[in-house]
């Protein structure tokens, strides 16, 4: 299809989308951008296509994974059965910087803590999807999934009529239902509020977008107050009004200056008190981040088996835990094939990529592992897949990842596709929009059973492997 359009038409459509994005005010914020706090969202007009049957499998895997994650979090803050059973080491929990003692004994509705998660997936060159990380705190990007679809529809209107592309904009409805279900018992028509740090936050556009789509109030900390009755109120033109559910988009530590950081200007004093009293629902629940670090990641297959008695339906990148003798021995024998990561560092610090390291570096890494095995995990190198992307008027392969969003409450919901981020630099694996990454619309396309299957397939070029990246 893209070949039929030809380069000029394709470029024209790319231009049209850029104008579209500018006038709609779809923006993200880059902190270092000086006075210009809005930047237009970089968008590649060529959609990424994933067959529906394949995606349905991913959906099942993600829903299962988040069910287990939530049982795990609830267990950690209550009985700690998984530790008693010897499946998850108590030391790891003691070391965790994301475990909030203030939340011990809390019982959020449905036993769910991480209501909204955005898991980062990559595909290997054999086509397998892997979960790279589970973002359980305040994952962002879902508004771009919906906006990207709108932009693509205007750019390629002719494709939407006769292809079965799964719609993405049911997300906000599902989120609305989920948040409403978190209201205190007996409240029929709850008031929802999206708690944002404010306009200077990089995801402010999304906070606003979600509030709009759900008819929720977009509030800042200063708009809310916790009364003597331990209920949450907002200041309005009609005086104080009760808020029943807070979808917070600020980090745990800033939520409530009475309990966490006392210098927080973003939070609401008394919010934790109101939450524990059951007078307000908070999504994601404070403390949910405990299941969101590299250590817990390594245990994920065990966690799924422990709570659900099922085999994981979506792959974890195989992760060797150096605290276990047999896994450490394997790592030390295969240093040159693996990526070694210190567990409590983030943002790529301290990572050694075996295939690129010198003898000395490998030796130093081995010593570091032996010195503090608990702090190290190792993973094989994943050769990331690429998809065609419009670069200077021609289609070229570029690396992508994928962030679907998973809602977990009484039931589960997974977005059809998710946010595809693309590394616009040739060979680059960096997809972050703040560092030269862009995004694409992601199409989950169902094939009509009775029609020939090749109508709308797009080949997913695979990278040759020599530029494979660390997972």
């Amino acid at each position: 299809m893209l070949d039929e359009l030809g380069p000029e038409e394709l470029a024209a459509r790319q231009q049209a989308t850029e104008l579209d994005i500018l006038t709609m005010g779809i923006t993200f914020t880059v902190y270092s951008d000086g006075e210009n706090i809005d930047r237009a969202w970089p968008f590649d007009v060529v959609p990424r296509i994933i067959p529906g049957a394949e995606w349905s499998q991913v959906e099942r895997g993600l829903a299962q994974r988040l069910r287990a994650v939530n049982m795990f979090i609830d267990d950690l803050y209550n009985e700690q059965r998984i530790i008693a059973a010897g499946v998850f080491p108590a030391e790891l929990l003691e070391d965790s910087v994301n475990f909030r003692r203030e939340c011990v004994g809390a019982h959020p509705k449905f036993g769910v803590w991480a209501h909204i998660s955005g898991s980062d997936l990559v595909r290997d060159d054999d086509g397998t999807f892997y979960v790279l990380e589970d973002n359980l705190r305040v994952p962002s990007g879902v508004s771009y999934v919906i906006e990207n679809r709108g932009v693509t529809k205007r750019a390629f209107p002719e494709l939407f009529g006769h292809n079965r592309i799964r719609p993405v904009d049911t997300y906000t409805d599902a989120l609305n239902k989920l948040l409403s279900s978190l209201a205190p018992d007996g409240v029929d028509d709850p008031t929802l509020a999206v708690l944002t740090p404010g306009i200077f936050n990089s995801a402010y556009f999304e906070h606003s977008f979600l509030a709009q789509r759900m008819g929720a109030e977009l509030v800042e900390g200063g708009d809310l107050v916790v009364g003597d009755d331990d209920c949450v109120y907002m200041h309005t033109t009609e005086g104080r009004q009760r808020v029943h559910v807070v979808y917070r988009r600020i980090d745990d530590l800033f939520l409530d200056p009475d309990v966490f950081r006392s210098d927080s200007m973003l939070g609401v004093a008394g919010l934790m008190r109101a939450w524990k009293a059951g007078n307000v629902g908070i999504a994601n629940a404070p403390g949910a981040g405990v299941a969101d670090d590299k250590c817990v990641y390594a245990w994920m297959p065990d966690i799924i088996r422990f709570y659900l008695g099922e085999e994981p339906q979506i792959a974890n990148v195989p992760t060797y835990r150096c605290m276990y003798d047999d896994e450490r021995d394997y790592v030390l024998d295969h240093l040159d094939e693996l990526v070694m990561k210190p567990a409590n560092e983030s943002g790529g610090y301290g990572i050694t990529i075996g295939s690129r390291a010198t003898e000395d570096e490998l030796k130093a890494c081995a010593e570091a592992i032996l010195d503090d095995p608990r702090n190290w995990v190792a993973q094989p190198i994943i050769n990331l897949s690429t998809v065609p992307t419009l670069i200077d008027g021609t289609l070229q392969p570029r690396h992508v990842d994928l962030r679907p969003f998973i809602l977990t409450g009484e039931s589960s919901y997974v977005t059809a596709g998710g946010l595809t981020r693309v590394a616009l630099q040739e060979g680059s694996l960096i997809v972050n929009s703040s560092q030269g990454g862009g995004s694409k619309d992601t199409w989950i396309v169902d094939e009509p059973n009775d029609a020939p299957a090749q109508t709308m397939r797009q080949s997913q070029h695979q990278s040759s492997g020599d530029e494979g990246g660390a997972a």
Partner: protein
């Protein structure tokens, strides 16, 4: 439906800024037309300086009374950094609406965002006479387009009433400024102005979009007293000061606990009506308008205290 006080504050100011950018654009536009109609042997350059008085007295700015056309238009239209210019007001309206996108219809945000992109890139062209009209007309048209979008697609909730409060208070204020400043300017050029009295008052009407409606209402010639009466007291023309105050009262009917604001509106209306008894003589009128403006300022404070700050609830 209740409205967050913080959002009320932003919507109110967005409405005020947008109204001001529209009114100021129209004023600059009609002033240019007016000057074209006057004899050119006069000191045309300093005439433009007189227009700056509409921004009110300023302590921290250099005296621009003798400034030429280009400098004055730059100050009033294209200078982004200085408060009060059209470009500044449009930018401020956008910044305020940017943080209240979930309250207003989506098209409203698009209209303002569109306009601010245009003004950011093109406002500077207004300094050139050939392009000035295009720039100013766009500001006026887009401001009205926004009103249209809201009128046809916005729920009549508190946000709507707050928007109207901002619009009508700013409009009342701008009408008093145009009437006052022009009256004073006419006084200053009494000799030259006398023979062109009619042209001047026509210019005043034009700058308030009022010429045609004035003529329809009075069915008569342009007469200073009748023009002032029309712009201040006509209760059917939507830019007259009385009409604006009446609309503010109607907004208050639908908001909760409006008594403190209503009291200040009544005081402003009483002051306005007392002007009817004074002459339309320039100095008196200018002074009377300043008095009304200060009372409109009190209405603004009362609105702020009641609806726009968190202590109001």
């Amino acid at each position: 439906m209740a409205l967050l006080s913080r959002n009320a504050d932003r919507i109110y100011w967005a409405a005020r800024y947008l109204e001001r950018s529209e009114d100021l654009s129209r004023l600059v536009q009609s002033y240019g037309e007016l000057i074209d109609d006057l004899p050119s042997d006069d000191d045309t350059a300093s005439r433009w300086g007189a227009l700056l008085a509409v921004l009110g007295p300023s302590d921290d700015e250099p005296d621009m009374a003798e400034a030429g056309e280009r400098a004055v238009v730059r100050r009033l239209v294209s200078e982004t950094e200085r408060a009060g210019s059209v470009a500044f007001c449009v930018g401020a309206a956008r910044e305020n609406l940017r943080t209240t996108r979930e309250v207003l219809p989506r098209e409203a945000w698009r209209a303002v965002n569109d306009l601010s992109l245009f003004v950011r890139d093109e406002a500077v062209r207004a300094e050139d006479r050939r392009f000035r009209d295009r720039v100013l007309t766009r500001v006026i048209d887009d401001s009205r387009r926004l009103d249209g979008i809201l009128t046809s697609s916005m729920t009549r909730d508190d946000a709507w009433e707050i928007w109207r409060l901002g619009r009508y208070l700013e409009r009342a204020d701008m009408t008093t400024r145009v009437v006052g400043v022009r009256a004073a300017a006419l006084m200053a050029h009494r000799e030259a102005a006398l023979s062109y009295d009619e042209v001047h008052w026509m210019g005043v009407l034009r700058s308030l979009s009022a010429l045609q409606m004035y003529q329809r209402a009075t069915r008569g010639a342009i007469d200073a007293t009748a023009v002032v009466q029309f712009l201040l007291f006509d209760d059917l023309f939507p830019r007259s000061v009385l009409f604006c105050l009446n609309e503010i009262d109607r907004c208050l009917d639908r908001l909760t606990r409006p008594d403190s604001v209503r009291h200040d509106v009544a005081t402003a209306r009483d002051a306005l009506m007392s002007v009817m008894a004074t002459t339309t003589d320039g100095a008196d009128l200018d002074q009377a308008m300043e008095w009304v403006q200060s009372l409109l300022g009190k209405v603004n404070s009362a609105i702020s205290a009641r609806y726009l700050s968190i202590d109001g609830g």
